[in-house]
Amino acid sequence: MARGRRFAAWLSLGPGDLRLVAVLLLAAALAGLGPAAGRLLAGGPVSGPAVVQAFVVEAGGGTALRLDPHKDGLYSVAGPLGETLVEVRDGRARIASSPCPAPGWHGGWVDHPGERSVCLPNRVVLRAEGGGAPLDGETH
């Protein structure tokens, strides 16, 4: 404390000067809140390996099912043409059967966040949700 007083005295700073310095340091500190706020809003890190957190099945325009990638099973949803079965196995999912006449949908396993499989005629969409570095889209 004594050294601080001597330092301030050496600099010959008056109260107005100290206030100026304080304001500048406060501004810099506030700037530091930005990244903290950003991390809070972003809800966590976006780097790292892509991990599927859920398989979402949409039918009839809304989310019909939210499936755990760790729970193997066969799940049924209804569409205008009938029943679509979605299979989850070993962390992957696919449309196992559907009234969609082949190749009316993208069959095959979905196991990457952002990937999806659609049965157009029966209005069923299977998509993989997750963090990591998901794709912004796919082209086919």
């Binding site: 010959s12 100290l18 930005g34 095959g108 659609v118 570095a133």
Partner: protein
């Protein structure tokens, strides 16, 4: 601080200007440096806020495909709905299966000047440009051939019923020849001022599948932009428009589906404001006698184009990307690569029927192969074993 001030006052020492200047300068410099470093992080905070609170998303079944739009910016939700509505509007105009559409009315009135919407005139103009650019390979008048092969647009409800148009075997050569006689772009005329168009001969129909989605993507992007949307992904069944930059200025990461197996051939790192369009033989086809007959027909022969299994195009204009992906597919990797390389702003990737991947130099910068696909210094990559699994 107050105690210090009192002691200062007691000492009755005036502030030394030079030392004060040093202190203030140091403090300012420190604060400025800190702010400059933090401002990059600040802008990321703003972007994170926008992503969380100003992002809207919606989907629709339209133009025979699954449309998904995700947009960020003030007014994004309303803009997304207007963009979807525009897709529906254009679907009505361009769908030959709908008797009220411009396309159906043109086909129903051969030889007559039919009043059509400005959008139809615009599509005809774009199609004309693509026809000339591709040496006649992109030709909207392939409608009769497309219908003959069973790949014409039809009601989803008709699938599996007696009204189902899909084939299980190829048409005869004489049927193909008869349909080919109706393929004639010079027989299509239009008058922009009068707002009319004409198909000269009876039986002619226009197949808009190779350009309608691209045109609609451009329109949707225009609507979003005008509404102040800063970034968006418009996905019309695998044909994309990427508006603006991703949060953080990074390129958009787009998966390129493998044409023969699950998973991706690779990813594309696409810059801002580009469209991505892919034509492949795996989307609509039937197999007969062990041969795959797919929907991308060569107007010159009337048969499905051979030699290529997939083409992806990146271009700033979605209608151009859409038309080019079809044209380049038919042209094949050699002629197609030459044409793509000659077009400014256009990048293309080809997968030929042996699985070999070739691409324009600009596409090399964007394409990152998946897992165990081998890179090639000479511009050619092996696509990996047909029986192998892609990594991940």
């Amino acid at each position: 601080m107050a105690r210090l001030a009192r002691r200062q006052a007691q000492n009755l020492r005036p502030s030394s200007p030079s030392r004060l200047a040093i202190a203030a300068a140091l403090a300012l410099a420190g604060a400025a440096a800190l702010l400059a470093w933090q401002s990059g992080l600040w802008s990321r905070a703003v972007l994170a806020y926008e992503d969380r609170f100003l992002t809207a998303s919606d989907t629709a079944y339209v133009m025979g495909t699954y449309l998904e739009i995700t947009a960020t910016g003030h007014g994004a939700a309303a803009a997304v709905e207007r963009a979807i509505a525009r897709f529906r509007e254009l679907d009505v105009l361009f769908n030959p299966a709908d008797p009220a559409s411009d396309m159906a009315r043109l086909a129903a009135n051969p030889g007559r000047a039919v009043p059509v919407s400005p959008d139809t005139i615009a599509v005809l103009e774009r199609a004309d440009a693509a026809y000339r650019l591709s040496g006649g390979v992109f030709d909207l008048t392939v409608g009769p051939l497309v219908s003959l092969w069973g790949f014409g647009p039809q009601d989803i409800a008709a699938l599996g019923t007696p009204a189902d148009q899909r084939r299980t075997s190829p048409p005869s050569q004489s049927e193909i020849d008869a349909a080919r006689r109706l393929v004639d772009w010079s027989a299509v005329t239009w008058d922009k001022t009068a707002g009319t168009a004409t198909l000269a001969r009876p039986g002619m129909t226009l197949a808009t599948g190779g350009i309608a989605k691209g045109y609609a993507l451009d329109e949707a992007a225009r609507i979003l932009r005008e509404a102040g949307v800063r970034r968006a992904v418009i996905d019309a069944g695998g044909s994309l428009y990427l508006l603006g930059s991703k949060a953080g200025g990074e390129p958009w990461r787009i998966g390129l589906r493998h044409p023969r197996q699950d998973g991706y051939l690779g990813t594309l790192a696409v810059p801002a404001d580009e469209s991505v369009s892919t034509s492949g033989d795996y989307e609509r086809y039937f197999e007969s006698g062990g041969v795959r007959y797919h929907h991308i027909l060569d107007p010159a022969t009337g048969w499905p184009a051979r030699g290529t299994i997939a083409v992806s195009v990146v271009a700033p204009d979605a209608a151009e990307a859409d038309a080019l992906s079809t044209a380049l597919f038919v042209l094949g990797p050699e002629k197609g690569l030459a044409l793509a390389s000659s077009l400014p702003g256009v990048e293309a990737l080809f997968v030929d029927d042996t699985g070999r991947i070739t691409m324009t130099p600009g596409m090399e910068e964007m394409f990152v192969p998946t897992g165990n696909t081998a890179g090639g210094a000479d511009g050619g990559n092996a696509a990996g074993d047909a029986g192998g699994q892609t990594g991940g």
